[in-house]
Structure formats: C-alpha cells, structure tokens
Symmetry: C2
C-alpha cells in the first residue's frame, strides 16, 4: 500500500481506539492527551547471551505524553472521575503517577493532590507534578506509608483516589498489551516487565487474556516480571519494610497488586525474579549506547532480566521477546549524568577541536 | 470502522512512511527509532483573546524518541551518513540536536562529537548526549561560534556534519507538515512555530508545498514564526551578537536558514514576530496548567505568539491554527521547578493530610 493510496487515520487516544474493551459509555467525558500508540522498537547487540534468531523488542512507553506508561491508566481514571462528578483527585507516588495525575487533572479542570515520600523523587517527575499545578505534600516515610494515608483520606473527603488500586487504572493499562499484539500481529512469546506496585504486569496479563478471548491473538505470552533485588517482595515472599534500589520507580516493599501479579506469573507459566542494581544500570547504559533508547533506570529491569535469563539458556531461536520500558530517561537526568563521562572544556579554536577529535 | 474490523498497521518510522517524498533509495540503510507519528492535541482555554470558533491544536513534537522534533531530521541525516560510509558525526548544539545526534549515532554504531557553548545547556539535554555516549566538547562562546567551528572541522576531518545545514535534516523535518495535514485532513489555516536557527519553519513550508504539489492538500497555510525578543535577528533584520532569552533552544543570533525562513514568511503571506520571555513563560505555564501539556520554554513561543496576535484580532471564526511544540518539558526540569510552587512538608498522619487538603 503506497502512501498516496492510504488515508492516514488520526490516533484518537486509547479510550477511543480500544473503546469496546473498556468500561466507558457515551456519557463518559473522555479526558485524553492522545496517550498510547507508542513505538515497538527492535533492539540488537545488547548482550551476546541472547541467541541469534531470538528477536528482542522494547515497548517504549516513555513516549506517552507525560513520559511514562501511567498515562494509559490515568486517561481512564480521570475520565471516570469526571463522569462521577469529581472535582479533586489524590495519589501517593514515587513520581510517575503524580506526573500523570497532575497532567490529566489539569486537562480536566480538577484539583490534584500528590503525597510523596520525602526526598526520594526524581527531578524530572517532581518538575512535572509542580508545573501541572498539583499540590505536592511531602511526608516522612516510604511509598507504602504514603499509599496508606491517601487511601484513608479518600474515604473521608470528596477526593478521588487515582492510585493503581483504582480499578480503572488497570483497565487503561491493559491496552498496552493490545498494542503489542497489534504491532507484532500476534502475542510475543515472552513479555518482560519491571515489577514495583505490581499493577502493570497484572494489567498486561488481563489485556492478553481479553485479546485471546475475542480471538485477536492465537496464543498467550509467558510473563516475566523483574524486581530490583533490594525491593523484591514478590521474589522473597514477604513485605520489605525498607526497600532499597536506585530504580526509584519500583522501590516498593508492599505491592498493592501482589495477588494479581502472582496469578499472572502462575497462569502464564512465567517467573518473577530479582535483578541487582548493577545489572539494571548495565542494561540502562547498554540500551542508551547500543540501541539509542534512553529509559529510566527502573525500566531497564525488564531488559536486565532478559539478559540474565538468556545467560541461563532460557530462550530459543525463533522466539520473540517484548521488554516493557515503562518511562523515559529524561525523568531522571541526574542518574544519566552520574552514569556517563562529563563534558570536556576546550578553547574555541579549530586547532583545539581538531586535536580533541583526533585524540 | 470498529476495532475488530480494522487491522492496525505498525508505524514504521517516518522514512518508511513517507519514503516517496524523501531522498532515499533501496540502498539507504534506514537508521530509525520510529520517530514521527506525534499527537496533534486540541487545546482550549489558553487565552480569552482567542475567539470562540477558532480551533487551536498543538503538534506535540516532544513525543519523538529523544523528546524533540530534531529526531525527524536526524533519522535522515544519520541514515544518509551511514549510506556514505561515515564512521563519525559532529554537531554544534544548544541541546536538542546533540541529544538526537547522540541517540541516532549510537543506534548506527557511529562516534558522535558535540560542541556546546559553555554553561548554557539545559540539564535534560546534557544528560541525553552523555548517556548515549557522545563526546561532549564545551567551548567558551555562543552557539554561532560553535557552529562555525564544526563546519570548519567537518571539511578537514572525516566526520559528517549533522547540523541543520546538512540538507537531509530539513528533508526529514518536512514530514511534520505532512503529518499535520494527514491528521487534520487538510492544511491548517495557520502554522505557528518557534524560530531559532530557522530550519524548522523552512522545513514545514517545504513540506506543505510538496503536499500541495501532489494534490494531498488543497491549500497552503499562513506561516507564523516567533522569535524570543532578546534573540530576534529575523525580526530586527540584523545579526544579534549576544542573544539573550530563557528559551535556550531558540537562543540564536545568526540563523543558518535565514533566507529560507524569510521566503516561507513571504510566500505564505505570513509573519515572523518577537515575543517576550514573559509572554513565553506565561504560555508555557498555561499549557501545563490548563491543557495538561508540558513543553520546553522555547516551544511555548508558538502559543505565546498566537495569543499575542489573537489580542490584535488576527484570527476569525472557523479557522484552524496548529502551534508546533518543538520539545518536551522534561528537557528543562529546572525551569519547571523554578516556575511552580514548591512541595509542602507535612507530618505522616491522616489529620495533617486532611487539614492540608481542606486548606
């Protein structure tokens, strides 16, 4: 089909595009920033452990409007909040949720309250919640403390909770699984994904099952979830009171969607494993330097996990693996600068520049 | 057309999608991050000066892979450099070009040298060039000095120049005009765009004319270019030796594509005008707070200019205006944080949270 023959359709946002799979009606006021429709990029050369003939793709969710996959759930949560007449929303957040909630609430004309753990939020994410006009409240305590507080206050005051315990969030997020299948023409053999609060792995699994249910795909993928070693409650089978990892977006010790995530693992014959901060940072740097793809550290847990399993001979020729990159690297510029060689200052002369290049 | 009836096509990147309009052949190795295909988002409530019945859209170019429109030109420039056997590329950059060049060079396996003016680069952009493995060379002097240096060194050494003086850059960038037309089903009445080095306004105009030439659109838009008041060489008709503006991406005193930009203005019956830093920051904040769209300050010059012209009664009911937002707000988190209310620290108790929300 040539360009001249084809009439390009304008992407209408994920609620319109996947309306028949979502709990919306004609009376739902759709609040959208045209989220979704993110690229599926093939990557090569990340690790020699990955056998030739295994194709690895990244679902680059950092190209959603606020720079993370959270927009998929937030367009649903805010649209449904608007349908119910809400004037204000609240969330606890390690950062990406707050950025997304603030942006969609701004677009809907709602007030937005964000409760953050003191001191641990990445700079890009903080800038987003603030510029979109959210009221940010910093509390002494970790994410789990913040989540308990907002759950309680949402029961007392007329503010709508938009954390992933809001069921509409996972409904929106499941559309990423639809897109992966639409882009590949079939489900992948493996879906690798970072696991923090455990909502996203649950949402993908729900999406794959629904697409299979209506015959849009002929098989289901094996789900591979990866937690940071210092914040791996699902791997260790216990709550981690003080989670520790450089991957702030998955630094969660008591995941809200634990039960659903374990079901996704078991129903798909998959795994939830841990990767170290070193393995995460190695994948983070290789993605940027070899594939040209800049993601936030937590996102790289999916690729780090695939590299680790590949080293154990886990994958076979002909298989296709999709790694979810949950957020853009611009969310955490400090980490990137800390992970790279600093600029070199030279005189503004052609001789100095020539010398620097030949060096 | 329902989802079930429609077979979703995977976006192949802009070179494949618009191949017939681009100087590529079967022997061009396409280096792509699946750039392009960015959302066209309608915005309302930005200014009362804009008459009812005038529809304003933003072309959100910040959702390209490296967060700016530069990726459109870079996929072309790097693909053609690869076709010509280049092993290294170089550019001068206020930031976005370096981020894009570094990412695409990484993907192509080329070395990348970036010459930046000392001290003036926004944090997000710096982080990108570094993490993608570019060699960054900081010189004492402004962008124009840096551009002179790289042009000269590219003639002496086997490094390919990928600044916008590279003709393939504008070829790639013109595809944004194609997308705007495809998304609207026709050319808009006005295309508003920030003007720095003046390549992008030239590229859009070229794109519109080519689409008109093959009958894909029936009319041409009026081109409206906006420079920052402290860096407005095209408005003042002279080189600005020391340009000054908070909009770093358009802080350029001696635009490389001056002649083409003035031709775009004159052929379209348009204007190139100046907007103050205050007007730019006001539009920047309103876009984030009212529309939920976070762009970098320079991008907001297009919206600031439209608001300014609207105040003079420039637009009429039934017209459609597309404002180009060239880069994502995450490119410059410091500016966002400086432009907003800081977080408030409260005790981690339900009472304190309740009080903060009721306040």
């Amino acid at each position: 089909m040539t360009v001249a023959m084809e009439k390009q359709r304008r992407w209408p946002g994920l609620i319109e595009h996947y309306r028949e799979f979502l709990p919306v009606s004609d009376s739902t006021p759709v609040v959208t920033l045209l989220e979704g429709n993110t690229p599926l990029i093939e990557i090569t050369g990340i690790s020699e452990a990955i056998p030739k003939g295994v194709r690895v793709y990244v679902k680059y969710e950092g190209l959603n409007p606020t720079g993370s996959f959270k927009d998929r759930g937030m367009t649903m949560a805010i649209s449904k909040a608007a349908e119910e007449g809400a004037k204000a929303v609240i969330c606890a957040s390690t950062g990406n949720t707050s950025a997304s909630a603030a942006a969609y609430a701004a677009r809907a004309g709602m007030r937005c309250y964000v409760v953050v753990e003191g001191g641990a939020i990445a700079m890009g994410k903080l800038s987003q919640a603030l510029i979109h006009g959210a009221k940010m409240l910093s509390v002494d305590g970790n994410f789990d403390t913040a989540l308990r507080l907002v759950r309680e206050v949402a029961q007392r005051l007329p503010v709508k909770l938009v954390n992933s315990v809001n069921p509409y969030r996972l409904e929106g997020q499941k559309t990423a699984a639809f897109e992966v299948c639409d882009q590949l023409g079939e489900a992948p053999d493996f879906l690798a994904i970072p696991v923090g609060n455990a909502g996203n792995i649950s949402a993908y699994w729900k999406g794959f099952k629904e697409y299979r249910g209506v015959g849009r795909i002929g098989k289901l993928p094996v789900m591979l979830g990866f937690q940071a070693a210092g914040a791996a409650p699902l791997v260790e089978g216990r709550v981690i009171p003080s989670p520790k990892t450089i991957a702030t977006a998955i630094k969660i010790g008591d995941p809200a969607s634990r039960r659903l995530a374990l079901a996704a693992r078991d129903e798909s014959g998959g795994r939830i494993e841990a990767v170290s901060d070193e393995e995460i940072l190695d994948a983070y740097q290789k993605l940027a330097r070899m594939a040209g793809v800049f993601c936030e550290p937590a996102s790289a847990a999916s690729v780090a996990g695939v590299v680790k399993l590949a080293g154990k001979g886990f994958f076979q020729q002909g298989q296709r693996i999709v790694c979810v990159l949950t957020g853009h690297g611009l969310k955490d510029p400090d980490r990137a600068i800390a992970s790279a060689e600093p600029p070199v200052t030279i005189p503004a002369t052609i001789e100095a520049l020539t010398e620097a290049i030949k060096a």
